[in-house]
Symmetry: C2
Subunit: 409 residues, 2 copies
Amino acid sequence: MPVNLPVPVAADLYPINGVRLGIAEAGIRKAGRKDLTVVLVDTGASVSAVFTQNRFCAAPVQVCREHLASGVGVRALLINTGNANAGTGADGVKRALATCGSIAEKLGLTAQEVLPFSTGVIMELLPVDRIEAGMADAIADAREDNWLRAAQGIMTTDTVPKAFSTRVTVGGAAVSVTGISKGAGMIRPNMATMLGFMATDACVAQTVMQQLSRELAEASFNRITVDGDTSTNDSFVVIATNKAAHNAIDSLDSADGQALKTAMLGVARSLAQAIVRDGEGATKFITVIVQGGRDTAECRQVAYSIAHSPLVKTAFFASDPNLGRILAAVGYAGIDDLDQGRIDLFLDAVHVATGGGRHPSYKEADGQRVMKQCEITVRVLLGRGDASDTVWTCDLSHDYISINADYRS
Amino acid sequence: MPVNLPVPVAADLYPINGVRLGIAEAGIRKAGRKDLTVVLVDTGASVSAVFTQNRFCAAPVQVCREHLASGVGVRALLINTGNANAGTGADGVKRALATCGSIAEKLGLTAQEVLPFSTGVIMELLPVDRIEAGMADAIADAREDNWLRAAQGIMTTDTVPKAFSTRVTVGGAAVSVTGISKGAGMIRPNMATMLGFMATDACVAQTVMQQLSRELAEASFNRITVDGDTSTNDSFVVIATNKAAHNAIDSLDSADGQALKTAMLGVARSLAQAIVRDGEGATKFITVIVQGGRDTAECRQVAYSIAHSPLVKTAFFASDPNLGRILAAVGYAGIDDLDQGRIDLFLDAVHVATGGGRHPSYKEADGQRVMKQCEITVRVLLGRGDASDTVWTCDLSHDYISINADYRS
């Protein structure tokens, strides 16, 4: 049961002029599942992407990086579930390239104009023939108003499709932003989520696209964690189709650049938080804010230490205000000269600890009341500077174990 | 159900001349539990200890460090369960000192000759009066052949008392080594386990004691993890009573030093591994060996990345050879210039992956067979040097969640 994450309504998702999406059942791992998605992009779009920092990055990630570096432009994305094509060595790269070549041929493109994405089980060979057999159906299905079905097409252990959309005025023109994402486990993105795709019809110079995708990922997907496992396949793609009637944005610091980036960040954060809300076995959505650090990096370090602690996460699952576990996680976060005598801890508005110990006015009943909620904010003050950072996570429940013990069966 | 960890037999534990142990029921958290243990040490012993690196270290850890630094010598250890006296600020230190003062008075010692140890719930005030009330019983109970009962007296969520013993000849004299430990959750010692105590009647110069305890901890307690949560209270104490009839060891590099250290390391490793075997919810004991690294530190980093991955740990619980999860954990361990094309993975003797991909001869049935065992060795070859390191861990099961969701109830 996802935490406060309703199923999106197709009518709420703005089509993006210049982007068509189609899905098909290719029988990649199991029959009868929508497991193949294509995203067709008109010529002239600006595209950039960020990828996992996992050194065991998947074959499709390696191919994406090469194709983007070639500078020929991006005309199609090919996305499969059921097989991650990761831990597959040189053979995996050949197979990813083969699927790019096949769909390029069907679309009258070159293989380099295609970006491949795979998600699913690691260390199994990609069934190229089945993917090729499903391409025609997916291409035939491609429409501009197909974002919700594409969100469904890229789901694996997700229980809810993730899609958000917004509109903003840029350079006097109304532009749309729409995005989809997937992911529920193996989530501690270190660049992007498992898979995230966003598009806008706004006009953005290719020169600022890499900065845009990186800044969007940094403030959204790179601030979430479910289980601390950084995936081999994390990919986040941003497409600007340049169809809207306004002058192209060539600096993110301009008024138009700021307006567009703010709108896109809203969608990116919603997509990232949706992954946590639908985290495997999640029953609670936790916002961890760390303030008073010397720099953002140390605040993030402490926030992740709390967000990854199995003991903290099970206490949230149990609604048990066993909050000393949070202090312990602050203590082992790796800040060598941390002074425990300056630490404050809040649970929502409840002041739990001060000066390294229990706050004199703290009552267990107050902690208990907050812990029972399904949305909780943990706030830690380090008392050593002015920096702060925020991370979003979920609790650790019996269902996480069940889901991951049974994943392949 | 601990993994291959039988309940120790009192007759197998050698008494240590110069060390007496006694336990009592002090009703610290709940009535009817053996929750107070004293260890009385004859004059003239060499003593050293290592403690948690958690910056939120508990009040008793702070007091231990001060008392050891004073150099007056150690005559008594006072150990309570049911309350960690951590996250308790300046008041916690006062309370720890008060208990030292009380037992010192009863024993005709100074407070500085007492080391206090606490384990249990964090951020609750230590009930000094109840501990004081239990001291007389614990002192009256003190005997040299009481190691098993002391191992029982320091248990919290442990299901089996942990005690090991050995004998070795040093300088022509037969000496004994006996140790006890406790811990099952919040286990990723970064100096020592939750609590570990070892004693020998061998003669060891105080000048080499710190080196001895550090080296023993490094190769035992500092190589285990259950859940990656480094406790606020980890403490490991080594006592040499200097009662045996041989010349004192003043260098660990001497033949006698090596012989004693090897014997003590055997006990320390058994105590450390016992904590993993009795890890909360553990059904499997996993040895993670990483070889072919540039240095020990990077091997350890990769080993802990595997040992902490919730996805790897649930796959072990499920006996599911979903071994790509291990490759993913290798990839995100933080070695920036890791070449996935040089990685090999073995599960016991089964060669699972080579050159970054599935080994041509690997069959799922072989992986399945090993995964069903309750003792499994994961071996990763990094192919970039000659260093290696080993870490011991357990799986992540439904019972871990149940135990930690219900811990305080």
